[in-house]
Amino acid sequence: MNGERRRRPDYLLIFSIVALLGIGVVMVYSSSAVKGHLEFDDPYHYLKLQAVWAALGIGTMLAAMNFAYTRLHKWAKPILYLALVLLVLVKIPGVGKEVNGAVRWIGLGPLSLQPSEVIKLAMVIFLARILAGQPEKIKYFFRGLLPPLGLLGLVAVLIMLQPDLGTTLAIAGTTFMMLIAAGARWGHIAALASAGIGFVVAAIAAAPYRMNRILAYLNPWADPSGKGYQTIHALLALGSGGLLGLGFGQSRQKFLYLPESHTDFIFAIIGEELGILGASVIVLLFVIFAWRGYKTAMSAPDPFACLLAVGLTSMVVIQAGLNLGVVSGLLPVTGITLPFISYGGSSLLFTMAAVGVLLNISRFTLNK
């Protein structure tokens, strides 16, 4: 855009990403060995897959680092349309794959794709573009705030149809952060926050399983073998870990006590095996990621890059915060993975693409 010479990317940001990814691969192995052994007679089953995805993810990140991110300004609309089409497609019977009672996947031969991952990226790029385009409009509710909110509403409805509350919350949170960064009025923000809470309440009221999750959240011990099961076993895993943990590979809760031990609840296994020490390292790495991500935004060469960086950073950080909150029992179970760490191919690829773009922007920061 301004033709400045590329500099070195933010190494601290790269360090946090690679460290999280590395710990993730190792912990996916530890937490999935039992499941792999039972399901595929191969304790390394999930490790092998995750290692491949991690390698692909690094490649994706490197690619995303090394093109002119300014092109995203142009591609913003087509990407959004593609993402919206995919979101609709997933609801068409025969196209979408059902996993655990939710239809979130589109199968492409041996691979599968989560349209919600695509829309996360697409939303951030598109919002960065429209918010950076006319910086003054943001002050006005109808002209400035309503279009992005309308888009968010549409996307939210489509994702909630899957249903996927966790991703909806992450996208909504990211959108809010971008609106705040773009300079929206605090009065508007407060009103929107109230509306958001109303939306969450409505979403919970609409589906009985969410109500159960809330009840389980408020008092998991009331029904330890039913509604409170996941929360309790996550807490038992964390508690067992104590200060220093049971040692790598020594988790007991992974022996089928804790469901989703290699995906949504992998952080509980980390806490169990590595103690609060290991768990804190993970949290610290996300804090470093947030610091360097928002720092990149603040030093970005133009408003589009700034808002893009805010969106990408927020997306990862909010998702991480939601996951850690759920696993540690601060939030009700929403069903959201921990970025970089949880097992899962396609979501990892999209996360790596996102942080690749973030690193890409970090190469053009000012005052460096």
Partner: protein
């Protein structure tokens, strides 16, 4: 165009908010992992670990000297973890291999293997060899564990005291039941980690919580004294009882007690069972008749009447009493057992002769209130508190309705119903100087490490009579044995005190003829009693002195020797009067020579040479019996009855002239109706 100041400020603010959120998460982790970590880990372990219980070794039962009366030997138990069996998918095959080895039905084994429980016992009390074979098969989900099984090395010895245990080593009867808690110990367990699917975690942790072994319970029983009692009872029950002519009594029991402490040294009853195999015996054999059955004590009870009368100073031993041959109360004449009565006697002689009118006189002088005071004071009509389940209280005539005639019969041991343990406890009070002691069966309790957990403590209940009264009563009772009706229990060289008794039994609400309870109670040495022995023999045609005293004598003599009680200087070698009477000059002791098989002339010559006078009886060429027997130690000049006969003749029974029984005479004389108190109260 660069980013605005506002934008940068907003981004910084966002980072701040995110930072706060992560700080909250860290705080939550500290709360969960550090503050509550230990508690959560414990709950988690409860999920992960499943325990196989390890039975503690049941504590031993020992006699007072540490002889093992009840021990635990190990046996094996085969159990299954159904989840592991299911996981292997080989239920049928496992059952097929296991069933014949354990001697079980295959279907039954399958059922146990597949039951929905975390642990299922397949068979208990499996011998070591079979258990080893089971282990060798290496069947998935099938395990063995060691358990203990009770064994009683002495078999039926003291069976009623020891009791027995059930399949799970729980005490069911006797001390095994009353001290179950002490003996049982605390079970431990082997904890193994399991997956949520119920399969043990390979390489998972195993922790062993060792069981806490049970304590050893030492009984007050002495195996030797108990053995003497059991021996006498065995002779009785096999038809070899002295003077029973082959008759086998219905039941019998012997109790030996240390009068000073209340410790039961022996307590044996017949019929009996083997606790190793109690199921093979009729349940009635488990009845501890020495504690659970009441009977009319007869003349043995006169000890109580005598002690009461002495304590209340209603009589003096040297005081004269004239027995005209009967005693009339409320128009009913109670005859003395001796036809024509004993005539003029002292109260000492009343006791020696067991003279009924003399004892009735004592009762009448005491009066109803005093009599009941001592009746209750000596513990009758109440449980002694001995550590045996089902102890009977006995039945006393209702004081409010008792008449002078009732008082008369009660004074001589009729009408009231007492248990053997009550009687020996009461007589022990007389023997020990006047204090009623609680009879005890447990000496002490010792922990597996050898520490005495509960030491023995004698438990005095109350003082009933004072020392001086007790001393007088003992000397009179000694005289009964030396010179009176108790002389069949005379032990040369020991000062023995005692009293016989015979009671008629109530059958279908009436006193039965020719079916008696014969008893004898005795203690020695009379001046410092170490042991009191009571024998009660039920269902005999003969009376107490004849039937029960040899039994007590057998136990008493062997026990005194075993206990190291030396024959006393100055103790009589032959029965003779002691107390305050004309004492004949002491004559030389002579041993009766054996003259069996000799001709009358030769026998007479030998006996006269030994310094004995001779009375020949019967016709025949040879001596077939002498009374006293050969080797008896008698006074110089004693008359020896020599019975003559042909070879093969049976010796006649000993002359019964002096064996008349005071109780029997009363029974016959009164021809009583059963008092309604007995009819109403059931024991």
């Amino acid at each position: 165009m660069s980013t605005s100041i506002v934008m940068r400020k907003r981004v910084a603010l966002i980072f701040l908010v995110m930072g706060i959120c992560f700080t909250v998460i860290i705080g939550r982790l500290v709360y969960v992992q550090v503050a509550n970590g230990a508690a959560l880990r414990k709950i988690a372990d409860d999920y992960h670990f499943r325990g196989v219980p390890v039975s503690p070794k049941r504590g031993d039962l020992e006699d007072r000297n540490g002889n093992k009366l009840g021990i635990s030997i190990s046996s094996e138990t085969v159990y299954a973890i159904p989840a592991e069996v299911r996981a292997s998918g080989r239920q049928k095959e496992i059952a097929k291999q296991l069933a014949p080895l354990l001697g079980m039905d295959e279907q039954d084994v399958v059922k146990r293997l597949t039951r929905r429980s975390s642990l299922e016992f397949i068979k208990k009390r499996v011998d070591a060899k079979t258990a080893a074979q089971v282990r060798l098969l290496n069947l998935p989900g099938v395990w063995t564990t060691e358990e203990s099984q009770r064994y009683y090395p002495y078999g039926p010895l003291a069976a009623h005291i020891i009791g027995f245990t059930g399949v799970d080593n729980q005490g069911l009867e006797g001390i095994e039941l009353t001290r179950d808690e002490e003996l049982r110990g605390t079970p431990g367990s082997i904890l193994t980690e399991y997956t949520a699917g119920g399969i043990s975690i390979p390489g998972g942790k195993n922790s062993y919580i060792p069981p806490k072994q049970g304590n050893t319970v030492l009984l007050t029983i002495d195996t030797n004294i108990q053995g003497f009692a059991e021996r006498e009872l065995d002779e009785l029950m096999s038809g070899q009882g002295q003077n029973l002519n082959g008759q086998i009594p219905k039941s019998a029991s012997i109790i030996a007690m240390n009068p000073k402490t209340g410790e039961i040294l022996a307590l044996a009853s017949r019929p009996v069972f083997d606790p190793n195999n109690y199921q093979a015996y009729d349940a009635s054999t488990r009845r501890n008749i020495a504690v659970q059955n009441g009977y009319e004590p007869g003349s043995t009870f006169k000890i109580i009447t005598l002690s009461a009368a002495l304590q209340e100073k209603k009589i003096k031993p040297s005081e004269g009493f004239f027995d005209p041959g009967s005693y009339t109360v409320l128009g009913k004449s109670v005859r003395c057992w001796k036809a024509g009565g004993h005539g003029s006697q002292t109260f000492l002689q009343v006791a020696e002769n067991s003279c009924n009118p003399g004892f009735i006189e004592m009762g009448q002088r005491l009066g109803m209130d005093n009599f009941y005071k001592y009746l209750l004071g000596f513990g009758f009509g109440q449980k002694t508190g001995i550590e045996m389940s089902g102890e009977a209280k006995g039945i006393l005539a209702n004081k409010k309705r008792a008449t002078a005639l009732d008082l008369a019969t009660m004074s001589i041991g009729q009408t009231n119903n007492v248990t053997p343990i009550q009687l020996i406890t009461a007589v022990s009070a007389v023997a020990n100087g006047g204090t009623l002691m609680k009879p005890q069966l447990v000496k002490e309790i010792v922990s597996p490490s050898g520490q005495v957990v509960t030491p023995f403590q004698a438990q005095p209940v109350r003082r009933v009579i004072d020392e001086e009264t007790a001393r007088q009563a003992r000397e009179i009772l000694e005289s009964v044995v030396t010179n009176g009706t108790g002389r069949r229990a005379f032990l040369p060289g020991y000062r023995v005190a005692g009293k016989t008794g015979t009671a008629q039994k109530v059958v279908n609400g009436r006193y039965a003829e020719g079916d008696y309870v014969a008893s004898f109670i005795s203690f020695a040495p009379a001046n410092d009693p170490q042991i009191v022995v009571l024998a009660v023999i039920d269902g005999v045609r003969d009376y107490g002195g004849v039937v029960a005293s040899p039994v007590v004598k057998g136990v008493l003599l062997d026990s005194l020797k075993y206990m190291g009680v030396k024959p006393q200087d100055g103790a009589p070698l032959t029965p003779k009067p002691l107390y305050g009477l004309e004492v004949p000059a002491v004559k030389k002791p002579v041993t009766v020579p054996s003259v069996l098989g000799l001709s009358a002339v030769e026998a007479e010559k030998a006996l006269k040479q030994a310094g004995l006078s001779v009375v020949l009886e019967g016709q025949g060429s040879m001596v077939i019996q002498t009374v006293p027997h050969a080797d008896s130690v008698v006074e110089e000049g004693t008359t020896v009855f020599v019975q003559l006969g042909q070879e093969g003749d049976k010796p006649a029974l000993a002359p019964a002239e002096e064996e008349e029984d005071p109780d029997l005479e009363v029974i016959k004389a009164l021809n009583r109706q059963v008092p309604d108190v007995l009819g109403r109260l059931k024991d």
